[in-house]
């Protein structure tokens, strides 16, 4: 009886995983990324009638080029905001540099991630139990840095493609535009392919979460879920008596519904886009 009550209790007790600012940034990421991917792919696969149609729906190249650049600016903005966010945390003392770079809450990969990966493979193959993941799993860390890498690479090559006259005038040789085009294009394919398959599966489509994990929108998961998913984080929080700080109200069903509509839309766009890309790559 006590067990069930506690279980119910923990089911109704919610834990704040993402603060509102990070959630807001992710919404920006979703919106800008989808826009960039859609408009960018129409050019990358301009030979495909499907993408030609998409381009037309979006208003043709003259419109999509503006959308793409607008979304690029959003990307720059969220990238900047996130850096500002981190710097602000450091500045206000909410976060020490040590905590940022190492420790249970750090996103910087460490030795533990490699053992986690090893254990995970074993778990996949049925050779061991599910590893007790902490706040950030190794694939989540990869996702995080992939964005850093992606924004840097796509962003810089994109800037060169956006202002080739300016950059060549500064001294870059003409062929760098060609190099930038290859990098921009292939990195974009990597990013979209990765996000719409790997990221989508890892976060949303894996059976535990299927069809969608709304945590990035609501920012909260049930305590029960935290216990099961990230036992190490739970234990760490208990040990340090910090759990209380993160407990929060149950999100309203209305909000969840709204976020689900938004989330499913984004997921659908991503899935459709990746299917079209695969189809185009294979058949055209």
């Amino acid at each position: 009886m006590n067990q069930t009550i506690s279980a119910n209790k923990s089911n109704n007790i919610y834990f704040e995983r993402f603060d509102s600012f990070s959630r807001f940034l992710h919404v920006l990421v979703i919106v800008s990324f989808l826009l960039l991917a859609l408009t960018g792919m129409t050019i990358k696969f301009s030979g495909s009638p499907i993408f030609q149609t998409i381009s037309k729906i979006l208003g043709g190249y003259e419109v999509t080029s503006v959308i793409h650049r607008f979304a690029a600016i959003i990307t720059g903005v969220y990238f900047g905001l996130h850096i500002w966010y981190l710097l602000n945390k450091l500045k206000t003392g909410k976060l020490s540099l040590k905590e940022l770079l190492s420790g249970e809450n750090s996103l910087v990969p460490n030795k533990r991630d490699f053992t986690d990966f090893y254990k995970t493979v074993k778990w996949f193959l049925g050779l061991g139990p599910r590893p007790d993941y902490g706040r950030w799993t190794y694939w989540e860390k990869f996702d995080y840095f992939a964005v850093f890498w992606g924004v840097a690479v796509i962003g810089s090559s994109g800037m060169l493609l956006w202002f080739p006259e300016f950059f060549t005038n500064l001294g870059l040789p003409g062929w760098t535009i060609n190099v930038a085009a290859i990098i921009h294009s292939d990195e974009a394919l990597l990013a979209t392919g990765f996000i719409f398959t790997v990221h989508f599966f890892n976060t949303h489509f894996r059976p535990e979460k299927f069809p969608m994990d709304t945590v990035i929108f609501t920012g909260t998961i049930s305590l029960e879920e935290l216990k099961e998913e990230r036992p190490r984080q739970y234990e760490y929080l208990l040990k340090n008596n910090e759990l209380e700080n993160y407990l929060t109200k149950t999100p309203s069903t209305k909000a969840i519904k709204a976020w689900k509509v938004f989330g499913f839309t984004a997921l659908s766009i991503g899935i459709i886009l990746v299917l079209l890309i695969i189809y185009t790559l294979i058949f055209l």
């Binding site: 003259e62 870059l172 292939d186 990597l190 392919g193 890892n202 535990e208």
Partner: protein
């Protein structure tokens, strides 16, 4: 002393040349004053001793002729004894042949003189007037005025009496030449002309013994034969109508006996432009009878050799009217008149003979004459089993471009012996006036089809109409520029006969043309200077594009387009695509290859800008592929027209390889070329590799390794994470099932509890 010397000379001379008797005679007869009166007439008895000494009889004594003369008594001989001195004793042979000049009429000495006797040849041929000394009549006096007496040319010998009147004076016969003999006499010198005469109408009549037939002297006189240049001559130009008129004017025996189609010849002539010129204006360059009918070889008009035969008329008239084709519309260089006279009306068909003044065709075959039948709307005839109307709408005709013409000018092939005269006259041959055009037409596909009697073949009237033919400048004309596409469409529209038999690649030509820049210009903007069918295919010499002579044959297309787009042609000529620049076996593109033909578009239209890549790509496949790999190409595929197409960088008609300094993509010009779209274009910017190929390791190592790195990164990342996911999925499903079962079990336990 002087007297003695002269006496001695005289003595010896006389002693040597004359006998003793003569010397005695001359004592008295050497006196110039010596004379007698006989029958009241003063008769000189003087004998010029010197002249006598020069005569053929110089060696004869006086008494050898004056026989029985007694020199010492007076008179030397009695009247009874006196006999006439005849020459027969010595000149017997000749005297026996004397004819006209018989001794009764003419004494020997009448010609040869008494004492100064000379050889006949010397006498007669030295002195032209010799005969006249006796024959001092009008004939003889006329002879002196004639061209035979005083030849016109310096080298011509005068014709003497005996040249015509036998060769020997002693055989001279009466001057009445027979007709036969007369011509033989004239033919001695005038062989050709007499020959012509003998074959002529006049000569033949003479040979047939027709008494009115003229001979040489009818026109040229007997003795008063004067040059036709001499105004006094019968044959002088001014006098010719009179001369001919003697026989040929109304009322003469000839005119009554001989029935010819021409009436009042002389009267009409004098009223005609030729006659008026001669009589009123005194123009001796005007035509008189013999200018047309010839002088000696006058032949009837039925004779093919006759100067007035229908086929020779033009030649005859052109003796004077040499440049007539210049004023008669395009009967090319007079050739048709001379070479194919049957094709066109003869001069006289319009300009009646003798009445020559203006075109008087109407007077023979008037339009009214034709319209008497052809105004009947029901008039029909059968051809190839089809009934064809022969009705002529005169109102329509009077509005046509040919309104000034009479029926017969076009329907020239009528025959007066047919009934009606126009029977079987066949289709109108427009080449009579439009020879140049018809010659071209004959070489065209249309013309050849006509020659092959193809039922679909278009003839002149299919495009130009018949009696309703209008000038191409007339807006209502079928051949007015804006109407040409419709006209050609009659046969060339899809489904019509010409389109059906066509085997080439161009289809829907009329529809396409209507939508093309030319068609829109013509039909929508009403620009009559825009190209219509005939501007490219020519009006009359259309040939299929496969024919090297065709204006639309690939090699000829640039020049055809250059008739309007000359400026572009000048640029194109210098471009790499021009055969003048590129000496290559490969086929070079012409205007058509980029612009197409019937569906030619405005170059700023979306379609054109998009399609040009395909056009260039047909030959430049590799660069087109790399173009499509570039940003320009990729965006272009999205239908964006503003982005650079081939010709934006390479130029269109002035396209040149990059090595050429004048090329738009040469090192000198490329920055500026990029700057057309890219403000701030610079040398390094222009170094962008427009046709890059990241698979080409040798040429573009940077790109190759960049691409290689990116590919490895991509494949590596996906390989890792997709495998990761692939392993995760079944495990997660198993786990979920277990959790579900566990939960289910818990629930069951709970409910059991």
């Amino acid at each position: 002393m002087k007297g003695v010397l002269s006496y001695l000379i005289f003595f010896f001379l006389t002693l040597n040349l004359t006998g003793q008797v003569s010397h005695i005679c001359l004592d008295c007869h050497g006196d110039k004053e010596l004379h007698i009166l006989e029958d009241g007439k003063y008769l000189s008895l003087y004998v010029n001793e010197n002249k006598y000494a020069l005569s053929v009889h110089a060696k004869l004594d006086c008494n050898e002729c004056h026989k029985n003369y007694d020199p010492f008594n007076l008179p030397h001989i009695t009247k009874e004894e006196k006999t006439e001195i005849t020459c027969i004793e010595c000149h017997e042979q000749e005297s026996s042949e004397i004819a006209s000049h018989s001794p009764e009429k003419v004494k020997c000495y009448d010609c040869h003189s008494k004492h100064y006797t000379q050889q006949g040849e010397t006498l007669l041929f030295e002195e032209q007037k010799f005969c006249i000394s006796c024959h001092d009549n009008s004939s003889a006096r006329n002879y002196i005025k004639s061209i035979h007496y005083l030849p016109a040319g310096e080298n011509e010998k005068p014709v003497k009496c005996l040249d015509c009147h036998d060769q020997k004076a002693h055989r001279v016969t009466p001057a009445r030449f027979t007709e036969e003999k007369l011509h033989a006499v004239c033919a001695q010198c005038h062989e050709t002309i007499v020959g012509q005469y003998e074959l002529s109408l006049h000569g033949k009549a003479l040979a047939q013994g027709k008494f009115l037939a003229p001979n040489c002297i009818t026109c040229h006189n007997k003795h008063k034969i004067i040059s036709h240049r001499n105004p006094a001559a019968n044959t002088f130009k001014m006098n010719i109508p009179n001369l001919c008129g003697k026989c040929h004017k109304e009322g003469t025996k000839v005119s009554e006996l001989k029935v010819i189609s021409q009436r009042n010849v002389l009267a009409n002539y004098s009223q005609s432009i030729h006659g008026e010129g001669l009589f009123k204006r005194g123009l001796i360059v005007t035509a008189v009878c013999n200018d047309c009918h010839k002088s000696h070889n006058i032949l009837p008009h039925q004779d093919p050799k006759s100067s007035i035969n229908r086929n020779n008329i033009a030649k005859t008239c052109q003796q004077c009217h040499a440049q007539i084709e210049k004023v008669h519309v395009k009967v090319i260089e007079g050739q048709l008149w001379e070479k194919e006279p049957h094709k066109i009306p003869a001069c006289v068909d319009c300009h009646q003979p003798h009445k020559v003044r203006r075109v008087v065709y109407e007077e023979i075959f008037t339009d009214d004459y034709c319209m008497a039948c052809h105004q009947d709307k029901t008039l029909q005839y059968e051809r190839n089993g089809e009934q064809k109307s022969l009705f002529v709408d005169l109102v329509e005709f009077k509005n046509s471009v040919h309104k000034e013409n009479t029926c017969i000018k076009c329907h020239s092939n009528i025959n007066i012996s047919n009934l009606p005269v126009c029977k079987d006259s066949g289709p109108v041959d427009c080449s009579a006036c439009h020879a140049e055009v018809v010659e071209i037409y004959k070489t065209s596909t249309h013309g050849k089809l006509v020659a092959d009697a193809d039922p679909n073949a278009p003839y002149c009237n299919d495009c130009h109409g018949t009696h309703n033919a209008l000038s191409k400048k007339n807006v209502n004309s079928k051949t007015f520029r804006t109407n040409i596409p419709t006209l050609c469409a009659d046969c060339h529209r899809e489904g019509e006969e010409a389109a059906e038999r066509y085997e080439g690649k161009e289809h829907n030509i009329i529809k396409n043309y209507t939508m093309s820049v030319h068609g829109k210009g013509l039909l929508k903007s009403g620009l009559v200077v825009t190209a219509t069918c005939v501007d490219c295919h020519t009006t009359h010499g259309e040939l299929p594009a496969s024919d090297p002579r065709s204006t639309v044959y690939s090699d000829n297309i640039p020049k055809t387009c250059a008739t309007c787009h000359l400026g572009i042609y000048e640029e194109f000529k210098r471009s790499i695509h021009s055969p003048l620049v590129s000496k290559t076996e490969e086929e070079l593109p012409t205007c058509y290859d980029c612009h197409r033909s019937h569906n030619i578009k405005r170059v700023d239209e979306t379609d054109f800008r998009q399609n040009i890549i395909d056009r260039c790509g047909r030959c430049h496949e590799d660069v087109t592929e790399t173009y499509f790999e570039s940003f320009h190409g990729k965006v272009s595929k999205l239908g964006e027209t503003k982005v650079a197409k081939c010709y934006d960088c390479h130029g269109s008609h002035n396209i040149l390889p990059a090595e050429n300094p004048e090329s738009m993509i040469s090192a000198a010009n490329v920055v500026e070329t990029c700057a057309k779209c890219h403000d701030g274009s610079n040398e390094r910017f222009a170094g962008y590799i427009t046709h890059a190929n990241h698979y080409d390791k040798e040429k573009y190592p940077y790109l190759y390794y960049t691409f290689l790195f990116m590919t490895i990164l991509l494949v590596g990342t996906f390989a890792f994470f997709w495998l990761h996911t692939l392993l995760w999925l079944p495990r997660a499903l198993i786990d979920k099932k277990m959790i579900f079962r566990k939960k289910q079990k818990n629930k069951d336990d709970e409910s059991n509890n």
